[in-house]
Symmetry: D2
Subunit: 377 residues, 4 copies
């Protein structure tokens, strides 16, 4: 009763279309004026846009070059102060077909954040989920509920809703990283809450430990503290370190070479950052993963409902999204709109191509609206 | 670690604000031009709008008068044919502050649909979830996967994603009802799929049984067919009849009068339409309920994250949403934007005030973003 | 990695067997004495019994005749008082191969309970889950947390853990019914708690309403009170009435006759009593169902892990369990041990055969240990 | 309606008791003979035993000395061969009050297993869940579905149902370890299945890698392979290494010393082995944990529904279970029956006291029958 996949004789129209429109008579015009007056809109004039045969994303595929982002962020570092009110020196990707809004995709925010030596970003908390990913550099500690978390190349730092957080650059050099948030989704669903915290961290919070308290409690394979065994909607582990991620990807490719199932497809390894308390996505609204393509290997061509943002972590390669094709290098970012085919190939004869990825799949999956399709090659 | 409700000395700014803006120097202007060129937008100029202290809905509270909707729908019945391409003679509420789009709220579609005597609306299916609610009239059967379902005053008919459906007016009179869908949400998340079915129903499908097959299988309190015991993401019961809904509301008020806990607040009864296979909301994206206020009673003033649409089913009363206040009568519709306070009062000295309501709470709850607050009186 | 169904060359022994036993030397005898002294037992002498190739139930298939149960219960009614300490005039089925314990199967208790006119059974509560099923008669009200619930032929009354309850016979005649509980399972898992309540019900609690408060709140298809929407581990609906059960079974057979999927197998209709707050079994440890075989029809032959107890509600037929075969009539009870094949046939040329059934499948399913197999005919 | 914690005037009897028994008249004797003849047992004579006010375990608290187990296992190594039929050289704890059965508690099996140099235990699989825990030694590899897993001191190796497995001693010395299984529970619920595999491992499977394939795929904090992201009912990670467990316990005590919440109670650290695909217990029926008491520290006194088995991994201390009190040393095992109070104290002035523990709590929790209570000191 619920999944009636087969039925007799569907009509194959190319689109819900102008075919169904009534004759433009004076009576119709008068009717349409009546609709306007009463704040009404008929379905039959809008259905083609509203209910297409498959998703036609408003967002465009686009690539941003990392060197240009870093240059502009550095310039901002020189002339734009960080402080209460503006809160963060973060500069967001604005998808070229989303009207100039700071949205990488309809649901996702991606920004480069930049802190000068010795600078602090003040404490606040918000209902939006966030994470940091570090493509290069070190020296900043993110302080979450008083727990100082080191940020270094390759590290992934989730930051779920409504936790107090600040950033502190303890180094002699500036540092840049990317922030991912569900700001557009929270804006759209009108579910935002925000609260200002303290302007300055305490001396104790400016400590620069190698390991945060959250890691000391949680960063073990398959081990949970018995004092905290209830499932949480977001991860309590606040840093996922590159040393682990790198080793997991390396082993997947090694297992594949030994003849065992471990990779997504030949030469394509991938790990997902997960919430150890329930095994699900690290954040309720964002799926975060690291991918590695062996030199010369290519991913399958896939399309899925929902959008994602990718950043090259290392290596060089070629990416196709819809009808776009780019070469990509360390730090470059690109977006994949809903239902656009994506394929990625690592340059041959060089090292592997590593990419960080985040997307909105948990939203779609929670609502049973996710679909994914692998295209025939 | 996850819910740090208390912290020292938060700063109480009125808003994320202009306070944090840098001096408008030539260097800054040049930086901003660089951002534009590279498709970048800084957070510090946008944060006040993007990340408010609490939701500030783009949608406006608004009320639509049923008599005007019916008059315009009737006129459409005379001059706009129903058929393949336009698919349905449905006329949607367009929230006055959502740019003329046929969106009752940012996530919800609400429309009056109208069929002339003997008319059919052709078969199709789509990824959007839908339902029908009948405020008056009878004579139409909705045919879902070949199962003909009677529509009569007070009935609620859910219609989950990807089921084939058509409508057939078997009566001598036109019939109007309301359709609710998650069209705006599917449009926003770019998760739409649509498929055309047959243009005509078979003679067998034009049968007009009192009870659909889905009801004969599922419409029993707490009973499931053993042949179909796996949980489904949407309800397999395709009609929730007024006779049951009315009795449930009547009994809640009677139990309250006898001194037992049963109502939401004094004089305010409410039932939720649920999926019998998992006890959750009837559809994955929409919460649907019927409310009854005893003559002279008033609801509590509540606000919640997410939006909803209400239709008066019977009786008269007064509604306050945010700074709006309306008197309402049978069939009138109104919308409640996110985090706007809502209160409803039934006219004294008359019958009770019955209201149908649907909202997007399941979306927010699935993502752990729901908040609800009862205001002090 | 988790379900390695295929492997090379398994050895097909008939059983884990004596084959593996060591030579009975003096040294071995001395070793075995050492084991005894230290409270140790080797696996190799026990494995055939402990780890058979498939379940070999300790329980025996058995049938009890209703007329004999009722006669003995009536005699008990005349000479055994009901009161504090003994608590209930309940007489339990003792499986012939479970050592005289009052266990119908290793996990399930089934008893006939009997109340004389005007008698009360005193209030108590316990951690064991219970239900009542009424094969004949009327006049008793079960009072659960002060809510009086009528008991009539065909009604099913679940009674989950730790709710206060008493029984009151308001009629001029004795009444008998069956009680089902998970007493043996609670005994085995050593999870029992028990508390005495009041010895006498209040006058108000001796009311004899047609409908209990729980039904007035919950007995609607797919409707939940908005005041109580959280899922509960056991059903809040305290009576499932015969009129609904009968209609559901009738409709399943009618739908089958019209050519639609509705029954378990041709001529075999079945409904499961479910918890409306989560769609799962009515009680966490017991699955309760009503089955109907059309005159002349036979069920498939099935075996499943776990045990069940059946009672004929109406009609006549033949039952096979393992190597046993019985004719059964109204009220007769029989037990089906784990992994024993079961088939049931309704007598031809008479009415349909209706059977109530309860079993321990929710225990096995919750622990991922359930298996079910339909034998080829 | 579901948790009626308060009621008027419960009668405080000391037990369900002889108080409720009828007079022993000839008519009663005749009635009882009728019950026996018809395989019936009345509740009123059994209720005191069946339904006590709280659990009264049939099992006894008991301690086994590791040195005596090892000595007997070594003797068995000399005179009892390992092979097809007997399957394993495993010697089980037999609780002194469970009738000589090889049950440590009513639900749990605990055994010492022993392999001589070069010996193999043949391949099989079964529906029972199992694990190995290594208190001392090394040299054996467990081969699960062809994946060879090293066993070393402190390692925990889960082995969920229906996976092929064998053991291979690659060292020059014998090795002993403990096996834990839910054999008594599977026996009681009659849910056993067993299948013989190959008698000999292949040469490739006799490899002795440091890390198993399962670890190379899964042993990372919070990382999952994207190729295997669906939740599994039991863990895919087949070894939990001591280096991780030790570090987690060390950090909990260090965090406590720094003033942060991390331990169960002062001086008492504990980690739970968990299934990384769903965050739940490592096996559906057994909870497995490692505990550490700082020198001189004592645990709280707790009682819980269900039973557990403990083994001292390191250090010395004193244990109280019910009215028993023992000093314990490395390798010693003891059992805690249902609802018996337990407290453990580490010897002062020495190292910490480390204990491995497994119990049946997941069974009780899955069925909502778990209770736990901390006694006032």
């Amino acid at each position: 009763m619920n999944a009636p996949e087969s039925t007799p004789s569907p009509v194959h129209l190319k689109a819900v279309s102008a075919a169904g429109q009534p004759e433009p008579t004076p009576a119709l015009q008068q009717l349409y004026r009546g609709f306007e007056r009463e704040l009404l809109v008929p379905l039959w004039t809008e259905i083609g846009d509203l209910m297409p045969l498959h998703p036609k994303s408003k967002a465009a595929p686009h690539r941003w070059r990392w060197d240009r982002l870093v240059a502009l962020a550095g310039e901002a570092g020189r002339i734009v102060p960080v402080g209460r009110g503006g809160e963060r020196r973060a500069i967001a990707l604005a998808n070229p077909s989303l009207g100039g809004k700071p949205y990488a995709t309809p649901t996702l925010w991606a920004a480069i954040q930049y802190l000068m030596p010795g600078e602090d970003a003040p404490e606040h908390r918000h209902a939006q989920h966030a994470f940091r990913f570090v493509v290069e550099g070190e020296g900043v500690w993110t302080v979450v509920n008083g727990d100082a978390i080191r940020m270094s190349r390759g590290d992934f730092l989730p930051q779920s809703a409504w936790n107090w957080h600040a950033h502190h650059n303890a180094a002699q050099a500036p540092m840049a990283w990317i922030d991912g948030l569900d700001i557009p989704f929270a804006y759209y669903t009108e579910s935002q809450f925000f609260e200002f915290g303290r302007e300055r961290l305490s001396a104790a919070e400016k400590a620069t430990p190698q390991l945060s308290r959250s890691e000391r409690l949680w960063a073990y394979p398959g081990l949970k503290p018995v004092s905290q065994t209830e499932p949480l909607s977001a991860t309590p582990l606040l840093a996922y370190r590159w040393v682990d991620t790198d080793r997991a990807l390396t082993e997947q490719l090694a297992l594949e070479a030994e003849g065992h199932a471990a990779t997504l497809s030949p030469g394509h390894a991938a790990v997902r950052f997960s919430n150890p308390t329930n095994g699900r996505d690290v954040l309720p609204t964002m799926r975060c993963e690291m991918h590695r393509l062996r030199a010369g290997a290519a991913s399958r061509t896939t399309r899925e409902v929902g959008s994602s943002v990718w950043q090259v972590f290392d290596g060089r390669g070629t990416v196709r999204v819809g009808d776009q094709r780019w070469s990509v290098d360390r730090g470059d970012l690109f977006v994949v709109p809903s239902w656009q085919p994506l394929s990625i190939a690592a340059e041959a004869g060089a090292g592997s191509l590593d990419l960080f990825r985040f997307g909105d799949a948990p939203i779609l999956e929670a609502l049973h609206a996710h679909r994914r399709q692998v295209d025939a090659d």
